[in-house]
Symmetry: D2
Subunit: 336 residues, 4 copies
């Protein structure tokens, strides 16, 4: 941590900062510039200290040196393979997860599971508990949806991931699902993160729609710090001023995360764009950028979907997506 004092900081103000660092057991390195005094603090960072120094008189700003995440960092571990229901994330094989936004009924899910498996997907997705912007919108089949997911998953022999939105439901959902998903709106629902950390199930952690990369890795850190290391990150678009797409899919996040963390990272071009015709081009791009997998919304009949119809692919669209994405994966030395 480096402390930059104000131009007119007084000697007593500088002394108080030094005392404070000293009390916290940090080494002090003073540098007297022409216009500013700079204080370097050496030693292990104490939570909250940076903010506290920033609040002191005479301090202009405090610059952190080390990243705030530890267990998620490359310094802790160089690479992670996350296993869920027999599927490996982070290896040479890019993972295709596909399915409807919401589980609507057994028939819809069964057909979709068969179709996406036949096309090449290795995991099924489907929401039973749906967080919706409007209290009047379809909120998911809840426990009934979980049962359908389980039945279909067994019948079609494909593992499944489903979203958990309520800390109280973690245990229940973990009993059914092969993998849990934390949605963008819950990325900083810390109670939920801790519960999922304790549940010990593999988890997909979506990036919050206004979360920085650092905040996202800190959210992963919550799960990791509970002892659950099976975390896969998922870039799903961030909120920007652009209204032509539902979100702006930030593909630079993929190589950037790989330079900061050992965790696998996949992309969700369905939510990332919100528009069916953009899903396939952005899927190609995500894989080319180095994504470890894709999360794609597929529905037997998008225009009758209870949610996310405009961004859902038909079975035929999905087959075409794979046909287009596979050569890109191979071009960068991976398999799909």
């Amino acid at each position: 941590m480096i402390i930059v004092m104000k131009e007119k900081a007084t000697a007593p103000q500088i002394d108080r900062v030094k005392e404070r660092l000293d009390q916290c057991g940090l080494g002090i390195h003073l540098s007297q510039g022409v216009e500013r005094t700079i204080i370097g603090a050496i030693g292990p960072k104490k939570p909250g200290l940076m903010e506290s120094i920033e609040a002191m008189d005479g301090v202009e700003k405090v610059v952190p040196i080390l990243k705030p995440f530890k267990l998620a960092s490359l310094e802790f571990k160089t690479t992670s393979i996350v296993k869920a229901g027999g599927v490996e994330f982070g290896g040479n094989q890019a993972v295709l997860i596909a399915g409807p936004c919401a589980v609507e009924n057994e028939d819809q899910l069964f057909k979709t599971a068969q179709a996406v498996k036949a096309a090449g997907a290795s995991m099924l997705r489907g929401g039973a508990f749906k967080p919706r912007t409007s209290p009047y919108a379809f909120q998911g089949l809840e426990k009934e949806g979980l049962k359908i997911l389980k039945n279909v998953s067994q019948a079609v022999e494909i593992p499944f991931v489903t979203e958990v939105t309520n800390p109280m439901d973690v245990e229940l959902i973990a009993d059914y699902a092969d993998m849990l998903q934390i949605g963008a709106r819950n990325m900083q629902n810390f109670t939920l993160l801790k519960e999922v950390g304790k549940a010990g199930k593999p988890v997909i952690l979506k990036r919050g729609l206004a979360a920085t990369i650092e905040e996202w890795l800190m959210a992963a850190e919550y799960i990791l710090s509970e002892g659950n290391y099976q975390v896969v990150l998922c870039e799903r678009g961030i909120r920007t001023y652009e209204t032509a797409t539902r979100n702006t899919l930030d593909l630079s996040a993929i190589p950037l995360v790989k330079q900061l963390s050992h965790l696998p990272i996949i992309a969700d071009p369905s939510h990332g764009t919100g528009k069916r015709p953009l899903v396939t081009p952005l899927s190609r791009a995500a894989i080319a950028a180095g994504a470890d997998g894709l999360l794609i919304e597929v529905h037997p009949d998008p225009e009758n979907a209870l949610s996310d119809g405009p961004q859902s692919l038909t079975f035929e669209n999905f087959e075409d997506l794979i046909a287009q994405v596979r050569p890109v994966a191979e071009a960068i030395g991976r398999q799909l």
Copy 2:
């Protein structure tokens, strides 16, 4: 709802949209322009229908006509007075809520409560359950913090508001507090919104850091639709590209909300700016814009605060804030 068909939409595509609307019991109003066919759908909106139409072939876009919120709208009610612990939000008197970000110990809170009450605050704030970006940061005193809040509140005779972050804690916190707060990160934690709706306690609902005004009112709608009408909105800054402030306090939200909703709205310039020297000028501005109150972080010793030190006011700062804000309130015909 208005449906704009693509330039090259075929007659069968147009017919399918019409059939669909008809099935949903909506009246149809067709308008054949020079380059586009426009279909107006008349009648009560069904949740999910808009998205579903948008997913149909030949549809370019769907334009909603009515606002998606009902109970929060001005059409439902023209004005609300929300009462909490004897304090009224939405009346002529602007409400001052003040206190530390986190409850640290009884002494800290007691001194603060006395000081802010003496200065003119009518409600105390203080966090017992603290959602923090880092799992390693101080997470609040939890239940112990609630007890301290209760004791101090009774001793100093000032009601208090405190944040609830976990649906499982709502009942517990509602037993202690005069008013609940839902923080920015939980604005779309729909499980929490519903629980708070059921609890029936007055609630402050902060705007999410990337939430549109409409999404914010829809979050309020979740609480209202559970039968709890005691909702006060709180503008606390949104996330923008600007890094000179912690957030960008969007004061246009204040008159805008008043044109859309009957709910009272207050402002939090402490989180909205993240910088102590900006809190007082933005407090003056928020009241001038028509805010029904202010939520201000005050700490006896900001540089030893366990959180949010850089934006916390000292007791002296807070007295000065009131001295500056009161004449502004009076200038627009209100009291503080």
Copy 3:
């Protein structure tokens, strides 16, 4: 400037950075932390050096210590009064500038000038050269518009400000106008900034719609560095994800600029909100935040305006605005 080396930076990489700083005549201050080596560079900053160091192997990041602007900074000067056409910006009197977005004809401008002067405005605004998003939209009366502005200004005895968009027009416009305006889209049109700097006329510099405060002050620095110190900044809203307003008026910019710079700063709530019913509340707020003036769009007949009708006030609206803003100005010890 502080250079943070990567965790695995080698001794030769560190040496190369030191050599480079030494070649540039900078003092070096080395700090060996537990996990990182930090190099402080002491002495006058050379343009481009920071970027260049950042490009060196083994460097993690470079942190600037000093602000990049000099002439615009408070360290250079503590306060500026900018005079234009007999009007003073930055003094105790807040300045009201009003008029139509575009000059349409002499009658329209004459009526508006009379009305806004009678209501209390001390400067007239009106665009002759209009930068428009569409090449098919009304582009302004150009030189004819300047003549109308001059005639009306003399007849009504009120000075005027008008926008300059083309470096080639600066001299022409400077011959007519009392004050030049640089619009948001041209804030980083550096050629234009230099020409306006050379023209020596007082100038209003609007904030770019995605400009940071620092970039804005650097744009002012371009004008100042040509010897023209008569610069007034104008906050006019920034682009955010929120679509309910045309822009998000960033009122925190007002006290923030006052903590960084001696330049006067005014606000433009017309462009800042894009909605007539928000202009007056945000005008009250801007003055309460400390703005040195307001720039307001007024039109005799907004619904027949050739541009910006939805945000233009009628004469009656404008009188009401003043009646509401004046007591706020007085409440903070200023005059309007």
Copy 4:
């Protein structure tokens, strides 16, 4: 254009809107909903009319039906091949443009031109007139830089593109360069757009850092409407809240533009990310998304570059980029 009246709009207000549309020669289509009156206006759109209707009493909002751009639209033309210095943009071959941010001297440029041509680039880039945030930074060699570009271009037999920032310089630069570039900061410098339109040279139009896709296409429309159809769009990153990258490269813009316009579109991952290690992964992604080319900053010695060192590739990096991008291009059926 569809006009949505307010819930409480009066009959006279509705009549006035109808009269207005009638005066403008537009057909009227009235739709009386349960809660709102909707007026459809049929016929050719008049510039400014929409804004003007929006300013009328009783109007809630006005929804445009048609895109505001014509010559840039797919309805005008289905595909464009832009030719510049023997290079074709928009064909099966993706175009590689490479070179330094700024021309520093003949030796630097000559070496770079040779290296990038040998590696596979078909066009050279290099700035002679540099728009810089700081007036104290290197502003380019100006006319001297143009001469160096011309000499090197001829000696190495590679065409070149260079930025134009001042309308007065367009003619001069057009005499030297094979292709002109309009930078992000000048995307809405309408005077410059018109001059470049008149110059008749092929042009690369970068997206403004806060420009919507629609505004960008409208900027292209300015050039096209002057009769210059040789426009190539370039996505170079937009400004978002994320600070880990210099900008957020919006790759969804590539397929989106292809669905709206016939103009070729390339990507600039150097400015788009601002970080050398991200340039190659994002280059792969841009090509996979369908970009018609790449614009890459290459410098013989990035750490001594006078600008943009941190994002510039070395010759070796650039060869590696091509080795990685070429198979991706081939995977989607294109050549590089």
